[in-house]
């Protein structure tokens, strides 16, 4: 067969075979491959985009987190300082109250001591009076049991009595 002289049979068979593979590959190979490639590309594109977005969001979140942390710190400081103040005032107040109470107690104690003392003094006075009366009574009884003495005493008394 001549090198540069195409045979009719070969042309016919080649045309048929080429049309067949063009159709078969076009329908069952290139189409699914191309759609798959496109899908994959778009999915990669989307994934990259969303990753970028997530990164940005993370940055934002980090920033807000920092802010939040700072705020919390400030708040803590404020709370701590107010707590300290409150503590101090409470201590101060309680100290004051305690001293006041102590004073009050001391005053009332002094009062009651004086009262008790007065009562005790009165009691003692009464008892002393009674005792002296009793003694007197007993002495008198003894002194005046003897009629001679009675007479003597009456005479003595009579002496004191001056008729003016």
């Amino acid at each position: 067969m001549e090198l540069v002289n195409p045979g009719i049979g070969l042309i016919v068979w080649m045309t048929l075979a080429f049309l067949a593979i063009l159709y078969i590959l076009g329908k069952y190979a290139w189409k699914p491959i191309m759609t798959a490639l496109k899908e994959r590309e778009s999915s990669i594109h989307d994934a990259l985009n969303s990753a970028e977005k997530a990164k940005e969001e993370m940055k934002k979140m980090e920033f807000s987190n920092e802010q939040l942390l700072l705020e919390a710190k400030n708040e803590r400081d404020i709370i701590l300082s107010t707590a300290r103040k409150i503590k101090e005032t409470i201590i101060e107040e309680s100290k004051q109250k305690a001293s006041e109470e102590a004073n009050r107690i001391i005053v009332s104690a002094k009062e009651s001591i004086r009262n008790e003392k007065m009562a005790a003094m009165t009691d003692l006075k009464n008892q002393l009076a009674e005792l002296s009366l009793e003694v007197a009574k007993k002495i008198l009884k003894k002194e005046l049991s003897d009629p001679k003495k009675q007479e003597e005493y009456s005479k003595e008394l009579m002496k004191d009595v001056k008729f003016n």
Partner: protein
């Protein structure tokens, strides 16, 4: 799954080989290899030359035999065993259809049903009537045989379909996954054709319509180029170095270009812009050149691929022939020349590997450029 397919494929090949007739070798070109390996002094060489049955090694004949199409697929010659695959002969002569195996020609008369393979002249290798072979005149024989090239086209098409459908299934089964295996090997090529050939030549908007065709011709040419380099059975056929094959593909490109040509494309052909008016008006010189250009573009596509592939095959076969030519003079000389020649051959094979890719790429790229030219929208200033 791919493995089981390949197993079935091997079974098919074994079945085809069982059809092969084992034939006593005629004193052909290749058999002389046996004689060159014998220790030969000048006397035995002389003796060999004087033997009436032995033909002298004819490199031109051997090269042409390997480069052009054939009615049987020669596989190997071992000593006196000539292993070949007979192929079906389908011919129409004088309105009558004949179908028989090409092995039917292997008889004393080298003819069957009045047909024979022409041995010399313009029709060498073609099927002609015995009458024409004798007298030079006879009825036309329309040959639709499944020749070596046709079978190679069928086999490579089968392989291509098998490969790409399995790859497509991988894509369908595992969408949005990283490619692996065969898919990983082919994906860069597919993406290359899509992005660097189709998209850049035709444009973002219209490339999708032409992509299946571009991918098909690229892989068809590449696959057949690579198979052509392999010297054993499923390979070795010079498919892309056959002018009918490249011609059919070029015609496809021409048809697609012509069909998709828009108004702008035809106006540019008839009234070429940027050319002085006197080249168009009295004698329409430029339009004629442009119209010829429509045909020359695919013609060049056809010739380029055919010439590149055939030339590569011829060079490699030429190197092989050098070994045999020197081997016929003396076997020592044959071995001595054989070693550097073998190195050259390896170099040429590697070069052919490169050319296989380059030619597939060039054919595809130029087709894409022609489609791009046909569909380009006029720029509005």
């Amino acid at each position: 799954m791919i493995r089981s397919r390949f197993t079935s494929l091997i079974l098919v090949v074994v079945f085809l080989c069982s059809l092969v007739s084992l034939q006593q070798a005629q004193a052909g070109a290749m058999i002389q290899e046996g004689s060159t390996l014998k220790p030969a002094d000048s006397a035995s060489v002389r003796e060999m030359k004087e033997k009436p049955g032995e033909e002298k090694f004819n490199p031109g004949e051997m090269i042409m035999e390997h480069v052009v199409d054939n009615h049987e697929w020669h596989i190997i010659t071992l000593g006196h065993l000539n292993l070949y695959l007979p192929l079906p002969v389908l011919i129409i002569c004088e309105g009558q259809f004949h179908a028989f195996w090409s092995s039917k020609f292997h008889n004393e008369t080298h003819s069957y049903l009045g047909f024979t393979l022409s041995k010399q002249g313009a029709n060498k290798g073609k099927i002609v009537t015995v009458q024409q072979e004798m007298t030079g005149k006879g009825p036309n024989v329309y040959d639709f045989s499944i020749t070596k090239t046709v079978l190679a086209i069928f086999l490579s098409s089968f392989f291509l379909i098998l490969i790409f459908i399995s790859v497509a299934n991988r894509y369908r089964k595992e969408p949005n996954q990283a490619p692996h295996g065969l898919q990983n090997l082919l994906e860069p090529l597919i993406l290359f054709i899509r992005d660097d050939v189709a998209k850049s030549s035709i444009g973002e908007k219209k490339y999708e319509k032409y992509l299946p065709y571009l991918l098909t011709i690229f892989f068809f040419i590449l696959f057949n180029n690579l198979l052509g380099i392999i010297p054993i059975f499923p390979g070795g056929a010079n498919v892309t170095g056959n002018i009918a094959v490249t011609g059919v593909m070029a015609v496809f490109t021409l048809i697609i270009t012509t069909i998709s040509g828009n108004r702008h494309y035809w106006i540019d052909i008839i009234n070429t812009p940027g050319v002085p008016w006197w080249l168009k008006l009295p004698i329409p010189l430029m339009p004629i050149v442009e119209i010829i250009g429509i045909i020359t573009k695919p013609f060049v596509l056809m010739v380029r691929l055919f010439a590149n592939m055939t030339a590569g095959h011829i060079i490699i076969l030429g190197f092989i022939s050098i070994i045999f030519i020197f081997g016929q003079i003396s076997s020592v000389l044959g071995i001595g020349v054989g070693i550097p020649t073998l190195l050259f051959m390896i170099f040429m094979d590697l070069l052919e590997l490169l050319v296989a890719f380059i030619q597939a790429y060039v054919f595809t790229l130029l087709s894409a450029l022609y489609f791009g030219l046909a569909t380009i929208e006029p720029e509005h200033h």
